[in-house]
């Protein structure tokens, strides 16, 4: 099938854009400060909690939120639901931005970032049993894959230019068309690997993780919840973009997507509860301590949108759909925060809460992500539903 994607156009920095730009600048200044003074003074991290929100939010939650591209690719290319194709390219853009920001967050978070280049190159020193190595390599590869998946949008624009960039774009585009099938396949394989490995990483924490979260099924639970979060982000992004940029609404498409999301959510909840029941951990749910409340809150946030979406199948209620997407994002984020920070107890006496600079670096990174999204959709053919068709995309 083919659909039309054209640049939105307009000024790159309008009112909200300027606010985002300010937050980004603040984030950059704080990042420079973090590298100048080191992790100790700039963060709330300690030997007990060597990772904080930069990992729990920017990497573990951020890449799950950036799974829109993965979730849509699963639906469109693996399940062969071509009707959702207009949602793919903007979803890939949010993924590419989300993963790039996550990669940057890792550089900010690790103690010796100047050695990061050794991870992909020091093949002889790889620990083949390391889940963290798998995540590192996979995320690095996936960032590259995502930008290649995104490149047709850039090439379509540059091809029409009579410059050296235009010539280069024309030369590349043939080869890219042939390679894209394999790139898309990789783009489905890689997130399947590392999103589940993010569950493996925290599974290896063993008894330091509260039993309500610790299970051998963590990889599967992480994978299922990231797919649901990816869909939810596609819903939010499409809703906001169609309003913000005056494009045709994709609400009907999103509403039918709701059914898919509901089943993924239910599958996640069923697995979670079955695990707790068969391993005799049900009593822990009703202890009504911090952990049981957190668990119950997660369950509510997962189940409420699932039932809402199931009950409202076939109807287009975009406000409710948006709230459901918000709840799914909160649910998935809370699950990841709980697994990586709240339910993780490194031992007596350790505590962690992000410092203000930590929070504002994260906010700066997210602001940069949204800002880049706005700038790119204004300049390059990414969003569908244009008022007047101009060019056809090359993607089949």
């Amino acid at each position: 099938m083919s659909e039309i994607a054209v640049p939105v156009g307009g000024k790159a920095l309008n009112g909200p854009g300027k606010v985002l730009f300010g937050l980004t600048l603040l984030g950059i200044v704080l990042m420079i400060w973090r590298f100048a003074v080191g992790l100790g003074p700039s963060t709330g991290l300690s030997d007990g909690y060597p990772w904080g929100i930069w990992i729990a939010f920017d990497v573990v939650t951020g890449t799950a939120l950036a799974c829109g591209g993965y979730a849509m690719a699963l639906l469109v290319y693996v399940m062969n639901r071509g009707k959702y194709h207009p949602l793919v390219r903007p979803a890939i853009l949010t993924s590419a931005l989300g993963y790039s920001i996550a990669a940057l967050a890792i550089v900010v978070d690790v103690g010796r970032p100047w050695f990061i280049w050794r991870i992909p190159l020091s093949v002889d020193k790889w620990n083949h049993a390391s889940a963290l190595l798998e995540v590192a390599l996979c995320v690095m590869a996936y960032v590259v894959v995502l930008w290649i998946e995104m490149s047709p949008a850039f090439i379509e624009k540059w091809k029409t230019q009579d410059t050296s960039l235009g010539n280069a774009a024309r030369n590349v585009s043939g080869a890219l068309d042939k390679a894209l099938l394999w790139i898309i396949a990789l783009g489905i394989l890689l997130p399947t690997m590392h999103q589940s490995s993010l569950g493996t990483v925290i599974m290896l924490a063993g008894p330091r993780l509260h039993p309500l979260w610790h299970t051998a099924w963590l990889p599967l639970l992480f994978l299922l919840s990231c797919i649901a979060m990816g869909y939810a982000v596609v819903v939010m992004e499409s809703t906001l973009a169609s309003r913000g940029f005056g494009r045709a609404k994709e609400d009907k498409m999103l509403a039918s997507l709701g059914g898919v999301i509901a089943y993924v959510l239910l599958a996640y909840v069923v697995l979670r509860i079955v695990d707790i029941v068969i391993h005799g951990k049900l009593g822990l749910v009703f202890q009504f301590d911090l952990y049981s409340w957190m668990f119950l809150l997660e369950m509510v946030l997962f189940l409420a949108p699932a039932f809402y979406l199931l009950a409202g199948r076939g109807k287009t209620r975009i406000g409710g759909m948006f709230r459901a997407a918000l709840a799914i994002i909160l649910a998935g984020s809370l699950y990841r925060f709980d697994a990586y920070l709240v339910a993780f107890n490194p031992g007596k006496g350790w505590s962690y809460f992000p410092s203000i600079p930590e929070m504002f670096i994260t906010i700066g990174l997210v602001a940069a992500e949204i800002l880049l999204y706005i700038v790119l959709v204004r300049r390059f053919p990414i969003l569908g539903g244009a008022p007047k068709p101009l060019t056809a995309t090359r993607r089949k």
Partner: protein, 365 residues
């Protein structure tokens, strides 16, 4: 049946196997290896051992005398046939020399030659002579028809103290004199007697030598650096160091790295195989940094209190504080965090309300 030299009563088979099992276990051999050792020894296959002393302090022998599993009497009376040893020999003078030659003739190609002490080479080796012969001559002579050659202690392994600068006698180790021959080296000042027992018993029982590293040291004892198994290692990892002898950290048993401990560079099993039958009796155990006595590049060369090089992992540029920061939660940050989170969720909800208002006519249509 063997005679227990202390009680004068026969040693039972059970006691005998127990003694050998302990010897085997102490050097990391399996219990089945211990059984085979016991069988070989009880069949009377006691190997002839010729022990040569050159430039040394006899500390390695002294250390061996204080081993109890098996004790020295069991060792030299039941397990091996110690045919020549200048410290333990009852004979003297020509008589002792005669027993050396007899043992060499009788067990040609089978006896174990143990060398203790460095060998002087300067001025034709005249600085160490026994019975009118130089150490170089004796060593070449005895080693020529030995079944196995073991250099015990740092002096015999690479020169040790006699070879320390300015090395007036041109002292060197047995492997340097016996080039081309396999010499098992057991460096240490003194060498741990159990590493010798394990090596000798393996040769006696199975006729083989343990796997050796490129310096001839058995891997079972010298395969890891002291740092890897050091009981003070958690202090190193946590950044807790003694900075002066007798300071608070030193009295608390903190890591001795900054006092010059060479544990990270020294290959030996001292940290798991202590000395003199006393648990904790080894340099680091009693509060002194390791001096690296098993390493040719360190022992009697590197200053005792100079900081060791750590190849892997590299030492940090700065050392973490003794009291680790456990982190904390202040009301201000939680407040700011709550505001940010609340603002985001609130903004999301308000956006959805706006969408409700917009889609109401659509729904009806």
């Amino acid at each position: 049946m063997a005679l227990d030299p202390d009680l004068g009563a026969p040693v039972s088979r059970r006691d005998f196997i127990r003694i050998i099992s302990m010897a085997a276990a102490s050097v990391g051999l399996s219990s089945s290896a211990a059984l085979r050792m016991a069988e070989a020894a009880s069949k009377g296959l006691k190997p002839s051992v010729i022990w040569l002393h050159f430039q040394e302090c006899t500390g390695c022998t002294e250390s061996l005398l204080r081993s109890a599993h098996p004790d020295i009497a069991t060792l030299i009376l039941d397990l091996i046939s110690l045919d020549y040893h200048e410290t333990l020999s009852a004979a003297a003078g020509h008589q002792a020399e005669a027993s050396l030659h007899e043992a060499m003739e009788a067990n040609k190609g089978k006896y174990v030659c143990i060398v203790e002490g460095a060998i002087p080479t300067k001025d034709n080796g005249i600085y160490c002579q026994v019975g009118g012969r130089t150490a170089v001559d004796i060593l070449n002579d005895v080693a020529a028809s030995a079944g196995a050659i073991i250099a015990i202690g740092s002096c015999a392994s690479f020169g040790g103290i006699p070879a320390a600068d300015p090395n007036p006698t041109g002292a060197t180790g047995a492997p340097m004199i016996l080039e081309g021959k396999t010499v098992v080296t057991l460096p240490g000042c003194p060498a741990n007697p159990y590493n010798l027992l394990g090596t000798v018993l393996q040769f006696v029982t199975m006729g083989t030598l343990p796997a050796l590293d490129e310096k001839g040291r058995p891997k079972f004892a010298y395969g890891r650096v002291i740092h890897e198994d050091c009981p003070r290692r958690p202090h190193f990892d946590a950044g807790r160091f003694a900075l002066q002898f007798g300071d608070e950290g030193h009295r608390q048993g903190y890591c001795l790295y900054r006092l010059g401990c060479k544990g990270p560079q020294t290959h030996a099993n001292c940290s798991i195989q202590h000395f003199g039958e006393v648990p904790g009796a080894w340099p680091i155990g009693i509060g002194h940094p390791c001096v690296g006595c098993t390493e040719q590049s360190l022992a009697f060369r590197a200053p005792i209190h100079s900081t060791a090089q750590i190849e892997r992992p590299t030492p940090p540029d700065t050392y973490p504080p003794i009291a680790a920061d456990h982190g904390g939660v202040s009301p201000v940050v939680t407040g700011v965090g709550g505001l940010i989170g609340g603002a985001l969720v609130g903004a999301g909800y308000m956006a959805s309300r706006k969408l409700d208002a917009e889609s109401t006519p659509e729904k009806e249509a």
